[in-house]
């Protein structure tokens, strides 16, 4: 658990982060959104003390982050940034092994961990462990950057626009990887992004910032149905908020009992996708099935639409 208390940062008389307080639960993904210059990166970097706060404090598992030297604190917190920042003079394996090496792990343990991570990110260790960063594609470099951030099994992972430079397909893949990582390692993730779809897709909670202030910090659905501020509503998009809301519920969660008729929709698909399928097929009900084809229930057009309205 990360507790941010009254955190502020002032640069030359300008307050760029203004008394932000928030509690980030263990094993959740929190996404920070906001316009450019709203203080997202500064807030994130105060958590691992790359930026020292002007006021307030950060507790991780109840311990004030100022209790230990900043560089030791950072070894326990994963950090991945846009443009990955891989060390150009070190191999992929050496890059990933950076923090374990700083922590004094044995060579064998580092190697085993590097191979495990390369496999998690679908990079064949034989082909890539000894490659130099410039020999990789942008998407591969980004994955190595995230692997490096995860190498020492940090309980907390901070990410600043980690997928900003990736094309949509690789980006979607990277997002799935991230969800998988959280399931697998139980990492608490705090991620900054400009992409609202990404925020809604990944975030258990979303923090909306503007002018250094935290306007709202809530579940994605609540940002849509009960925006705390007109800016939040603008930020989350008025035009397609019903669709956004639909995208937050899966067909499996919304399924009604009984087999029903019409096209088959997988339980993990979102209601947005289910609706799209119904529109496309000209049907008004669908069968909900598991990935292996077993029936899970059914959905009607009406039932879907109800989920797109604030209740």
């Amino acid at each position: 658990m990360i507790t941010v208390e009254n955190l502020s940062k002032v640069y030359d008389g300008t307050t760029v982060v203004d008394a932000v307080s928030m509690v980030i639960e263990k094993n959740t993904t929190t996404v920070i959104v906001g316009t450019s210059g709203s203080g997202k990166s500064t807030l994130l970097r105060m958590i691992n003390r790359l930026v020292e706060p002007t006021g307030g404090r950060v507790l991780i598992e109840g311990r004030d982050t100022r209790e230990e030297p900043a560089h030791l604190l950072r070894r326990r917190i994963g950090y991945a940034i846009q443009g990955h920042g891989l060390f150009p003079h070190r191999t992929v394996a050496e890059n990933i092994g950076t923090v374990p090496q700083l922590l004094g792990w044995s060579a064998a343990r580092i190697q085993a961990r590097v191979e495990e991570l390369l496999q998690v990110f679908q990079l064949d260790p034989k082909a890539y462990a000894d490659a130099m960063p410039h020999e990789l594609s942008g998407g591969q470099q980004q994955r190595v950057g995230v692997a490096r951030a995860l190498a020492a099994e940090p309980a907390v992972l901070l990410m600043d626009e980690p997928f900003g430079a990736l094309d949509p397909i690789i980006r979607a893949k990277a997002q799935e990887d991230l969800l998988e990582i959280r399931r697998r390692f139980g990492t608490t993730i705090v991620l900054v992004t400009h992409d609202m779809d990404e925020a809604f897709h990944l975030g258990d909670r979303v923090a909306v910032m503007s002018g250094g202030r935290l306007l709202q910090y809530d579940r994605p659905a609540r940002l849509l149905t009960q925006p705390a501020d007109p800016f939040v509503a603008r930020m989350t998009g008025m035009g397609d908020r019903a669709m956004r809301l639909l995208s937050l519920t899966t067909a499996g969660e919304a399924a009604l009992p009984g087999r029903g008729s019409g096209p088959a929709v997988t339980a993990s698909a979102s209601l947005r996708e289910a609706l799209s399928e119904l529109v496309w097929q000209g049907a008004d009900s669908a069968q909900v099935v598991d990935a292996d084809g077993t029936a899970r229930g059914h959905l009607t057009l009406d039932a879907i639409l109800r989920h797109g309205r604030p209740s």
């Binding site: 560089h71 950072r74 950090y79 891989l86 060390f87 150009p88 950076t98």
Partner: protein, 245 residues
């Protein structure tokens, strides 16, 4: 063998054979002498002069490198930033103050011989190393530096594990430039009785012996070229071993 390599080997062979047995080249230099003057420098051993020359240059370069790199590191740290203009001015003076003038000023202080020459070369060689160190350190990609700190490297670890390796190509280039400039400059050391190839040139000037002048100049020039080349090859090897291309 590539033509460049061939040329390099030929230059080295020429230099070595001339230094080991200069008398064999006497017929070549004889037309440049008048009234039966000796065609080959005969007031000292050319080989030992060349070695002394090289030794002086290398010693001065080592000292310049040590100071210039240390200074370059200090003034690119957060805490040393304010000293950058001052250091730059000092190092620039070292370069703009003519080495001959440095000799004139230092001889009364440290006496004749090697010492004033070393000081002059040391001051003269600082600038390229200092400037290249600064550029090398300042042009490290910001994302890489942020990542290094974000991973939990201390300032010292970041410097030695990331910044210096990335700046190394430029620093070495500065050292190479400094070395080569000073191979030529070191000839003036002979005016204050330092052992070196300047002796040969000065002897030629005093006795109006063009052959001597040419010999001194050629040996110095060949040494500079070979040193430049050798350093470049050494740099490539070193950089490959730390894998910066």
């Amino acid at each position: 063998m590539r033509p460049a390599t061939l040329l390099r080997c030929a230059a080295l062979a020429l230099l070595v054979s001339f230094l080991l047995a200069p008398q064999r080249f006497a017929p070549l230099f004889a037309p440049l002498t008048q009234y039966g003057a000796p065609p080959i420098y005969d007031q000292g051993n050319l080989l030992s002069l060349a070695l002394a020359h090289l030794g002086t240059v290398c010693l001065a370069a080592a000292a310049s490198t040590l100071l210039a790199v240390t200074l370059g590191i200090l003034v690119t740290r957060e805490s040393g930033r304010e000293f950058l203009p001052l250091s730059r001015t000092l190092v620039n003076i070292g370069q703009t103050f003519p080495p001959v003038a440095v000799l004139a000023v230092t001889v009364p202080l440290v006496g004749f011989g090697e010492r004033p020459t070393l000081i002059a070369l040391f001051a003269y060689g600082l600038l390229p190393i200092f400037e290249n160190t600064i550029v090398g350190l300042q042009t490290c990609p910001p994302a890489v530096l942020e990542a290094a700190s974000g991973m939990g490297m201390s300032a010292r670890q970041r410097l030695f594990k990331v910044e210096l390796p990335l700046a190394m190509p430029l620093i070495l280039e500065g050292v190479r430039l400094s070395l080569v400039i000073n191979v030529g400059t070191a000839t003036i050391g002979s005016t204050v009785a330092a052992k070196g190839l300047g002796e040969v040139i000065i002897a030629g000037l005093l006795s109006n012996n063009t052959a001597f002048i040419l010999q001194g100049g050629l040996v110095t020039g060949l040494m500079a070229i070979l040193l430049y080349d050798g350093m470049a090859a050494f740099e490539r090897r070193l950089l490959r071993s730390v894998r910066i291309e």
